[in-house]
């Protein structure tokens, strides 16, 4: 009869799924402070999963009838996602305590969301892609609306849910078109079908739909409209999670699917993606200027950053892929650090989100001000901080791929974008001091410090990270 599928490559996912179930039980039966216990176990689960990814995903194999693929690229992406998830749970702990959130489901759902992302990253078939994506999305809808008593959070959840359903619909529609014309959903099958057959407008239209569905997940223009509202309405640790993990996962999936099965349609998808990329960079840079809520501002900032990362994708060279992974890695630290700062914006035991609440922070709380300054400079792409190198690598990749106008627009929009990053610094250092913030929680402070430090020391020790990104990019282009 049928053989048992090879489970080894999926050990990390299987472990995470089982841990999710276990955490649910722990949460239900643990009487005292279930949130803390479950959250800690979730971090533990992420760490173990990370180790499993490292140990079991070394060689490129597929399993589950070719639906699930692992290689150096997927493991690198998974590690980033796990890191993002771990940071988010870590940031959630003090927040839950301060806000009196006593519901352990939050970390559990986060675990499932991360599981979905890992499945997306490893997807090797349009069906498994959709299933992973849907697991991720559904978890995120729940997370967005988690503050159910809060009108904004509920609104954010509903908006995200409906628009997400629309995006999933687009994705499914595209997939069915592709299936209808190509007769297969497997990435490998698609690749061979597309390389042998001539251009087929049905498959191309299907691909455009799939691209649109994925663009929604990374909140790229024009599928970004949900982002500011959802970022603002969701609980802050969830926003931090939103802004890193799903984006990394979806971008990596994007990269895999475009240079994998759709490699032969590069001429077509490049046009679409250049538009998305340019529009995201400019929109993110310009629209953020008018924002006064820091979470909304970060939403636009993330739209812009996705645009920059997409430059690497558009280049579609190993160099570009490396640049993109690299960008996401740096972006992870910058964003998590910034959200740690946002989570330490508490005045009299109440969370605040206004940009002007940072007024004169350099006087009332110089350490936080310094950390945020470093992070903002890095986001603006000012050397010698890490953010500069992220941009530098994708721009260089674009230039080497002959996409000089794209690099020029990227530089210009990063100049515009620098305005609002620097504005935050100006507010902190030159505006009249307000009431001052409460002392930040220890773990928030630690995350903030670690991220700011990572951004600063990056220039000193880039080799280990570069080596990982190199190996990942190389693995992507082997198959």
């Amino acid at each position: 009869m049928t053989q048992m599928p090879n489970l080894v490559p999926a050990y990390a996912e299987i472990f995470l799924a089982l841990s999710g179930l276990l955490l649910l039980m722990v949460g239900v039966f643990r009487k005292t402070d279930p949130v803390r216990g479950v959250a800690r176990l979730a971090i533990l689960a992420f760490s173990v999963a990370g180790v499993l990814v490292l140990t079991t995903n070394a060689v490129a194999v597929t399993t589950f009838s070719g639906m699930f693929a692992v290689n150096a690229f997927t493991s690198f992406a998974k590690l980033l996602v796990l890191l993002g998830g771990g940071f988010a749970v870590f940031l959630m702990l003090p927040w839950a305590k301060n806000e009196g959130i006593a519901r352990f489901e939050l970390p559990v759902v986060m675990v499932f969301a991360v599981l979905g992302m890992m499945m997306m990253i490893s997807a090797n078939d349009l069906i498994s892609l959709y299933v992973g994506l849907e697991l991720q999305s559904l978890s995120l809808y729940v997370l967005a609306a988690f503050h159910r008593g809060n009108l904004r959070a509920t609104e954010a959840g509903v908006k995200y849910f409906i628009l997400g359903a629309l995006a999933s619909g687009l994705l499914l529609y595209g997939s069915s078109l592709i299936y209808g014309f190509a007769g297969t959903t497997s990435f490998v099958g698609l690749a061979s079908a597309l390389s042998s057959a001539q251009e087929n407008v049905g498959v191309i239209v299907g691909m455009v739909f799939v691209i649109s569905g994925l663009a929604f997940k990374i909140s790229a223009v024009p599928f970004h409209m949900w982002t500011p509202d959802v970022y603002e309405g969701s609980p802050t640790p969830v926003t931090a999670f939103f802004s890193v993990a799903p984006k990394i996962a979806a971008l990596c999936l994007f990269l895999r699917i475009l240079v994998g099965p759709f490699d032969d349609l590069m001429f077509q998808w490049r046009q679409v993606l250049i538009v998305i990329c340019v529009a995201s960079m400019l929109w993110g840079a310009v629209a953020a200027i008018a924002q006064s809520n820091i979470k909304r501002l970060m939403a636009y900032s993330s739209i812009g950053h996705v645009g920059y990362a997409l430059i690497g994708l558009v280049a579609a060279t190993p160099e570009g892929a490396r640049g993109m992974i690299y960008y996401m890695l740096i972006y992870l630290f910058m964003n998590v650090g910034t959200f740690a700062v946002i989570l330490s914006m508490r005045v009299k035991d109440r969370y605040v989100e206004g940009v002007n609440d940072l007024s004169g922070l350099s006087k009332t709380n110089p350490a936080i001000a310094l950390a945020l300054t470093v992070l903002m400079f890095s986001m603006a792409g000012i050397p010698p901080l890490a953010g500069f190198f992220g941009k530098y690598f994708v721009f260089v990749a674009a230039i080497n791929a002959g996409l000089i106008p794209l690099a020029v627009i990227g530089v210009l929009s990063s100049v515009i974008g620098a305005y609002y990053y620097l504005r935050l610094i100006k507010i902190m250092y030159f505006d009249e001091a307000g009431e001052g913030l409460d002392k930040p929680d220890l773990s928030t402070g630690v995350v903030m410090g670690v991220c700011a430090l990572a951004v600063v020391v990056f220039i000193l020790v880039p080799e280990p990270m570069l080596a990982g990104a190199d190996a990942a990019a190389a693995a992507l282009f082997q198959g």
Binding site: L163, L166, I204, V205, S212, W226, Q268, V286
Partner: protein, 640 residues
């Protein structure tokens, strides 16, 4: 030891400048004085080892710029020329530092002032010990910057700010010439290091360059450009206007700028580049004429000025003219000798006048002084010594150096030399006159000050009079001691390769001039002093009547030959007009409007518009997505 002498002032300046507030006034004063003082102490053995012992040294500190064939290092060059300069600069500067402690005792920003003084000294030391033109330029600009800071030290005074800006701008004009000169040298010989340049110059003696379509002698052009730089820094005719205004700074600053540092840099430059200038005889003639004219011109103005410091300032200008025409006729050693003696007695005169101003409750106008000699006997004596040195009465320092310059000018037996000699004699007459006038108006006659001021007149404290005494010793003995080695029989042993002279030795010629040439300066000096005595002691009514009967001449001199007005008309106002047009129409009207301002305005407008798109309505968002996908699909189907 060599590096220490140069860098101790910098260390002192850094400590006082950066930590002045933390360590306090007293500590700042001590640390800067100690820095410069130690430098002065070290400079003496350096002088004896280098100049007397003949151990020339180049201390290489680090590579500075290494780009292609262009290579330059941080290096300290110690030959006789720089050893003389280092000793003069550090010693005089040290005395001025000590004096400043007393003079600035009522000021609120003592650490800043002391730090600037030390930094100034350091910049000057970098200038004189430079081993290449680029490093020399570093020191040159350093001096320029700190002079700006020092002249504008009382930055709350608008006149001080204006004077500081003027000094800086006029210097920049000269610096531009200097910079072009350096470029020219690099173009010609492909090097900026002195040794390389000097070795290469003879082989380029006949090279020609085309400059703005006119073919000319390359070395002459370079020498003239360098001289433009020197004119700016040394306040020679046409670029002199900043010097009198620089009196807006505190008196120790005036002393430092006029005596030991800054203004002497131009003379030093010409002497340093003497191997090059010697191959450009035409340039040397220009130097002579400009120097001689300055000597005369500045002296005429000095005769009618009423501000005690301005009189001395014009005297400096005039004396620098002497030094330049000495260089012009090839008597570089005499020029440097005069530079050295001048440093002592001019510092003495400035600090003495500072002491007077101090005594007169910050009054600088000589018309409101008079009859105070009994109250400030020490200062009075010091001013006499300084004056006698300045007007070249034997055996004071100025006598040895100034007479030698005049003799050398005569001994050159050229037409420009004769011109310089005549101008020099005339200037000497006027020098004696205005110096005497200064002394008599300030110290003698009826008191013209208000009674409260007169009651308050007092001798300065010891910390101010002791430096005066130190400078007085220099003003008395420097000439006598230095005569033999600088310009006497020992001069060849002394200078060796530091100064180059082609052809006849002008000093040698100066020793063989007719007797009337030797005696004429002496005669005109006594004449001048006598005239001053007659006009200001015996018949004090005459000057006023003279001024009234020749109003045009008087006004012409009083207004400094209308140079400021002329420049204002020729350069300043047109420049302002052009600037205003470019600013209002060009920059704001075109560049800003369509550049930064326009872009930022449109970005902000765009931000608002994009924000308006974000309505919050779900169906708008969904609709945006649908529009997006419709556009993409259309594009691909139609265009792709």
């Amino acid at each position: 030891m060599y590096a220490a002498a140069i860098f101790l002032p910098l260390l002192g300046a850094a400590i006082a400048g950066f930590f002045g507030r933390r360590i306090g006034d007293r500590a700042s004063q001590i640390v800067t004085c100690a820095g410069v003082g130690l430098g002065a102490v070290l400079s003496i053995p350096i002088f004896f080892s280098v100049a007397v012992g003949g151990n020339e040294e180049v201390v290489t500190l680090a590579t500075w710029i290494n780009s292609g064939t262009f290579e330059t290092a941080w290096a300290l060059r110690f030959d006789t020329l720089s050893a003389v300069m280092v000793m003069t600069v550090t010693c005089v500067s040290f005395l001025i530092h000590v004096y400043a402690v007393g003079y600035m005792s009522h000021d609120d920003c003592k650490p800043r002032f002391m730090a600037y003084l030390s930094l100034f000294t350091f910049a000057m030391l970098m200038l004189v010990t430079a081993d290449n033109l680029v490093q020399l330029f570093f020191g040159w600009e350093g001096v320029g910057v700190v002079s700006y800071l020092l002249i504008g030290f009382w930055f709350k005074k608008p006149t001080a700010n204006a004077a500081a800006i003027k000094a800086f701008v006029v210097n920049r004009v000269g610096d531009f010439g200097f910079l072009l000169g350096i470029f020219g040298i690099y173009l010609l010989v492909d090097a900026v290091s002195f040794d390389t340049v000097f070795d290469a110059v003879p082989s380029h003696a006949e090279d020609a360059v085309t400059f703005f379509g006119i073919e000319g002698h390359a070395l002459t052009l370079i020498a003239l450009l360098l001289f433009v730089g020197a004119m700016g820094k040394s306040a020679q005719l046409f670029l002199h206007t900043w010097l009198p205004d620089a009196m807006e700074g505190p008196t120790p600053v005036s002393a430092l700028i006029h005596a030991a540092t800054m203004v002497t840099a131009g003379v030093f430059l010409v002497a340093r580049m003497s191997p090059l200038f010697e191959y450009a005889p035409a340039a040397l003639e220009v130097v002579t004429v400009v120097g001689a004219s300055t000597a005369f011109f500045a002296a005429t103005i000095g005769c009618v000025q009423n501000d005690i410091k301005r009189v001395i300032a014009y005297s400096t200008c005039s004396q620098l003219g002497y030094m330049f025409f000495a260089c012009g006729v090839g008597a570089y050693s005499a020029a440097i000798f005069h530079l050295m003696t001048h440093a002592w007695f001019k510092a003495l005169l400035f600090l003495g006048s500072g002491s007077v101003i101090h005594a007169m409750s910050d009054e600088q106008d000589m018309r409101k002084m008079g009859g105070i000699w009994k109250h400030v006997k020490v200062t009075y004596a010091m001013m006499w010594i300084g004056t006698l040195a300045l007007v070249a009465v034997p055996p004071f320092a100025g006598y040895y150096s100034k007479d030698m310059i005049l003799e050398a000018a005569y001994g050159a037996h050229t037409s420009v030399g004769q011109y310089a000699f005549i101008m020099g004699i005339a200037a000497a007459l006027m020098t004696a006159f205005y110096s005497g006038r200064l002394l008599f108006m300030t110290f003698h006659g009826e008191p013209r000050a208000e009674k409260e001021v007169m009651d308050h007149v007092h001798e300065s404290p010891l910390i101010m009079t002791l430096p005066l005494a130190g400078l007085a010793i220099g003003a008395i003995f420097a000439g006598y001691i230095g005569y033999d080695v600088f310009i006497g029989d020992g001069r060849d042993m002394f200078w060796r390769d530091a100064i180059a002279v082609l052809g006849n030795d002008p000093i040698e010629a100066a020793h063989h001039v007719p007797a009337w040439v030797v005696w004429s300066p002496m005669v005109v000096t006594l004449l001048g002093l006598g005239l001053a005595y007659h006009l200001y002691m015996r018949r004090p009514d005459i000057p006023g009547r003279l001024a009234a009967s020749y109003p045009l001449v008087y006004k012409f001199l009083l207004n400094k030959w209308y140079f400021d007005e002329l420049y204002d008309f020729l350069f300043v106002r047109p420049a302002f007009r052009i600037g205003r047009v470019l600013w209002k129409r060009g920059d704001e009207g075109v560049i800003d409007r369509f550049g930064p301002d326009g872009i930022s305005a449109s970005v902000i407008a765009g931000a608002k518009r994009l924000g308006a798109v974000q309505t919050g309505y779900l169906y708008h968002y969904a609709f945006a997505m649908i529009i997006g996908i419709a556009l993409f699909v259309s594009w691909i189907v139609v265009g792709g």
